[in-house]
């Protein structure tokens, strides 16, 4: 298919992250975008597309972050602006669409928030559900995880290996919120229940900060600062039902079809993948996503994760920054930007290859999913 090898991620923007009080969400957006633009070796006059992830309710005294406000503060007048409203994960697809259509040459994709330090309490609750005391995403993903425990062989025995494995990666990442907080299987079991069957250690972090990346054509990428991370496959599938009505809680989620699409576009098999960066809002999300991509059969995760498969030194590293569980929460940008940085060879102590006793990364598969398994996007990148 036509998009393979045509476009690439060429710059990544970070900000201070973790607990960073006294800052607006907008300030993190602007800083992340500016850093991505500079990182790529571009200037503001080059940027002609800006795509933002959704923004949650603003903290008191702040306005909702919209892409035109971000553009204003960056001194941009883009030819394409968009923002996803509620957890569809189409940002990269939009970027590739406007590049392919010739409408834009360099697109920034960004997400930021001040979720940890601001006074904002996200209210995502359906009024029909709050009547019964059902609140928030931990509970709705826990519903899915419980059904999976019933349908196939899974549970804390599997999830602990995901939580602990990712924490080991975080210990190598100076930016990771949990870098100095080692996690053992014992600590995992003693961490508090949030909504059973999920413990605190099964749940992603809440973070202040932002993240952004720049996407452009491989042709244009040749003139820029870094060796680009080339996009070779994309796929998306959105089963859409509210989780309350869904029958795919235990899979197949959107990952199955999205993964097949991306692999087909890339012309590769799962055996060609050197590492994965998986959207890990909860430990179970990592398991069901890898299972639906086909890395192991139904319920075989418990064996597959054993003996450090995904950890430093493992045969298929997963979430090498620490991920949303142990690095910081920036939606699908945490996994996707980590893949790009790994393929650019810019990951310091956690760099895949000899440094972490893992395969030199040629191809990395990434996922992003939204709402409660309702939307799913898969992206495969390769080293230039």
């Amino acid at each position: 298919m036509g998009l393979k090898d045509k476009y690439a991620i060429v710059g990544v923007g970070y900000t201070p992250q973790g607990r960073v009080p006294g800052r607006t969400a907008l300030s993190f957006y602007v800083e992340a975008c500016a850093n991505a633009i500079k990182d790529a070796g571009l200037g503001r006059q080059d940027i002609d597309g800006l795509i933002c992830y959704r923004h949650f309710q603003p903290a008191s005294g702040e306005r909702e972050v919209t892409p035109y406000v971000v553009a204003q503060q960056l001194g941009l007048a883009p030819k394409y602006l968009s923002q996803e409203a509620n957890c569809a994960r189409s940002q990269l697809h939009h970027a590739l669409g406007v590049l392919e259509a010739g409408l834009c040459n360099y697109v920034v994709v960004a997400y930021a928030d001040n979720a940890l330090s601001s006074d904002r309490i996200p209210d995502e609750t359906n009024p029909e559900n709050s009547v019964f005391g059902q609140f928030g995403y931990p509970a709705s993903y826990a519903m899915a995880a419980r059904r999976a425990m019933h349908t196939f062989h899974t549970g804390p025995e599997t999830w602990k290996m995901i939580a602990v494995g990712q924490r080991q990666w975080a210990s190598l990442n100076p930016l990771a919120m949990m870098r100095d907080r080692p996690l053992t299987f014992e600590n995992y079991y003693s961490s508090k229940w949030v909504v059973e069957p999920f413990r605190v250690s099964d749940c992603c972090l809440v973070s202040d900060g932002g993240r952004a990346y720049i996407v452009t054509s491989v042709e244009r990428a040749r003139d820029l600062s870094h060796q680009p991370a080339v996009i070779i496959g994309i796929g998306q599938h959105n089963p859409s039902s509210y989780i309350d009505q869904s029958t795919y809680m235990a899979g197949p989620t959107g990952a199955k079809i999205a993964g097949e699409m991306a692999l087909k576009m890339a012309g590769i098999n799962l055996e060609d993948i050197d590492a994965c960066e998986i959207y890990d809002c909860f430990t179970y999300t990592v398991e069901v996503t890898l299972q639906d991509y086909g890395f192991f059969g139904l319920g075989e995760g418990q064996d597959w994760f054993k003996y450090g498969t995904i950890t430093p030194g493992g045969r298929l590293p997963v979430n090498t920054s620490g991920g949303l569980l142990s690095e910081a929460y920036f939606m699908g940008l945490t996994p996707l930007t980590e893949a790009a940085m790994q393929l650019m060879g810019r990951c310091g102590d956690r760099q895949l290859g000899a440094k972490t006793n893992t395969k030199e990364p040629e191809i990395i598969l990434c996922s992003d999913n939204g709402a409660t398994l309702q939307t799913h996007s898969c992206t495969i990148l390769r080293r230039f």
Binding site: P127, E128, N129, S130, V131, F132, G133, Q134, F135, G136, A139, A142, M143, A144, R146, R147, M149, H150, K192, W193, V194, V195, E196, P197, Y242, D244, Q245, S246, M249
Partner: protein
């Protein structure tokens, strides 16, 4: 004491359901063309797009599709209920609804466990369809 938990906020689509609850009836839309029983309510049938619809009364019997146990109260009014169980019940007629499991401890709940509706009259205006183990009669 005043009821402090959130109450239903009926809208044009859901009002017939909550009106039914007040009379201890679980009412769902049924497609007159293909027979599909749907929840949440919708202007058309998601299977065949027919807008021909009638409201039917479900038996109130079903089984636990999945459930979770709250050990932390996201809303103050639920603090005294901890640990409490929210569940998705698969009704005999097909729809899945979110509810609470009452009348048994969190250790006793299982997926696929048979349950039946247990009405809780929380205010003059609203009754909530909760579910209890079917063998508890």
């Amino acid at each position: 004491m005043a009821y402090e938990k959130p109450l239903p906020q009926p809208n044009a689509d859901t009002r017939p359901f909550w009106d039914g609850c007040k009379e201890h009836q679980l009412r769902f839309q049924k497609c007159r063309d293909c027979g599909h029983v749907r929840w949440p309510p919708s202007i058309i049938c998601p299977r065949c797009y027919s807008s021909e619809v009638e409201w039917m009364v479900a038996s109130g019997e079903g089984k636990v599709y999945t459930f979770v146990v709250y050990h932390y109260a996201y809303h103050k009014a639920f603090e005294n209920d901890l640990p409490y169980i929210t569940a998705i019940v698969e009704l005999e007629e097909g729809p899945h609804i979110l509810t609470n499991i009452v009348g048994c401890s969190s250790d006793e709940v299982r997926c696929d466990m048979p349950v039946k509706v247990a009405w809780e009259d929380v205010t003059e205006e609203f009754s909530l369809p909760k579910f209890k183990p079917a063998q508890n009669d």
